[in-house]
Subunit: 322 residues, 2 copies
């Protein structure tokens, strides 16, 4: 039986060499991190529970990717550069094959973003994975939820709805071809955190967040924090490559309230459209303009002819959604 | 039914006002933290699982205390000053009575140490509580595990073994009077993190850690990291007020390998004994000298006449201990 210390040593104790940020890595009571002078820290925690956020038999490589991706996405939404993360998890058993794949998926993404695993905790229990991530950004440059201004454009990175489509396939709400199911599922299991875009938008965008519970619900947080309203061009929503082939009603539903997209939704002054497009190009990321921030409170849906549309949508909540 | 947002707002969103450290608190994708210039960050994560680290029917007030106490103890063991923490947890249900008491226990200790709750995550699932804590300390002043030097004294804060005694009572390994059981259990449920002592020992102590899995196992980490050995005066161990009344063999066993003590074990040069005692007095904390760091590898037990004693002890491991 693998002990707790062997497990950490064998699969996770890679980032122990000091560098410009990491003064002391895994193996002491705390890790020690140096922050660049003039920068502040952005910090976020996400907990993923088996049977809730992922299937109990989820591919461990993809799970390793996703656990870190959702945290990197939070840094992206603030415009922060990743520095490091802690990993705390409970496992029913120390299964070497599972641990090896999980750590490979985790480190493949971590390395891509120079984000160091600096510490954590392992214990026995129902499968639960908690990552806390640390990034840095120049003082007063964060893309906050409360910074949207009347007249701002609303933008979306990438595309929406394919993750929700994969779920509909799993749940048998819809029949998908095996190839479509696989491609949509990849989107659900391997979200792409928009880190480069978040950094490129510093000083250009006003407000930003990442879309995890569905665009409408998440945009609502920007509207509430910024005390503004918005209009959304619901047929301008960038649907995922699989969802594009489905009827308009489903496209609307899944792009607006799908969830698990991990794209950025951000606002920027209309006069800075060219800068937004240039920032997105520099980050090699597609962006689409989908609406406008209004002074009138509430969220309005407009069709392609700018006529108001009435839609009933619900965002996901861990305690009230069945 | 309480929603996730209501739950956070009602019980946990206290620390949202910006101050000298907290630039942005709960409610955005990330919290933003300012670090004092010239300081580095100490970071630690602990995950507590129901049925593993605490009884499923544990008093939520005490549980709130303990979850944060074990993390503060990690900061103490580095000599770091607490700044803030994130709280991620999964709950089987959003029970208002439980949440209210849990948050009270948590914040009572947090306020005592000016340690802000800056963010986190809540989700549905088997009860699991993960705290990541952030402290700061001057560059190169951390009390690391790899810094023990031959000739150092070995010191222990407070006393050891009463938490293990409480467990023995619960498990019916021993018969304790109700009053003794209660007092010992308080020690198990409400450990006192030695934060002030850790800070006072900066520049005086060499190595330090906190004793969570039992002194012998934990001291072993200092010996291994520092590539040294040690001798322990096993009858000099400061036994807890209840354990003191039990036979010497049990006292030895529970002080040396009890676990859940959350006292500091630290090493300091023999010529600085007076400074150690003064630092402990300034932190209002008892310290006891219990051994010496040797060049010879391994750990030796000595009785009160300095004769070698053979003892068989085992430290706790989450995956190999049944």
């Amino acid at each position: 039986m693998l002990s707790e210390f062997d497990l950490i040593k064998r699969y996770f104790a890679r980032h122990t060499k000091p560098d410009e940020h990491l003064a002391l890595g895994i193996g002491d009571d705390c890790a020690l991190l140096n922050i660049t002078p003039g920068m502040q820290m952005a910090i976020s925690s996400d907990m993923l529970v088996s049977g809730r956020h992922f299937f109990p038999d989820a591919d461990p490589y993809l799970l390793g990717h996703k656990c870190l991706a959702v945290n990197l996405s939070d840094l992206a939404a603030m415009g922060a550069k990743p520095v490091g993360f802690t990993l705390a998890f409970s496992l029913p058993e120390a299964n070497p094959a599972w641990l090896e794949k999980f750590s490979q998926g985790l480190f493949a993404l971590a390395d891509q973003h120079q984000c160091r695993l600096i510490g954590g905790d392992t214990t026995k229990g129902p499968l639960n994975i908690c990552i806390t991530i640390f990034g840095e950004l120049p003082l007063s440059m964060a893309l906050r939820r409360d910074a949207a201004q009347v007249g701002d454009d609303i933008w979306i990175s990438g595309n929406l709805g394919d993750a929700r489509l994969a779920l509909a396939g799993y749940w048998r709400e819809l029949e998908l071809s095996p190839a479509d199911q696989l491609q949509a599922a990849t989107r659900m299991h391997q979200p792409t955190p928009r880190v480069a875009l978040g950094i490129a938008l510093r000083g250009i965008a006003h407000a930003a967040l990442d879309i995890s519970d569905g665009l409408v619900g998440d945009l609502g947080h920007i509207l509430e924090s910024s005390r503004v309203g918005a209009s959304l061009a619901i047929d301008a929503m960038p649907a995922g490559p699989i969802l594009q082939h489905f009827p308009p009603a489903l496209r609307r539903q899944f792009t607006l309230s799908g969830g698990d997209d991990y794209e950025l939704c951000f606002t920027a002054p209309a006069e800075r459209r060219a800068e937004v497009v240039a920032a997105a190009a520099s980050a090699n990321t597609l962006v689409t303009r989908v609406g406008r921030i209004d002074a009138e409170p509430g969220l309005r849906f407009l069709d392609q002819h700018a006529n108001p549309v009435c839609l009933s949508l619900q965002s996901f909540d861990h305690f009230t959604t069945p």
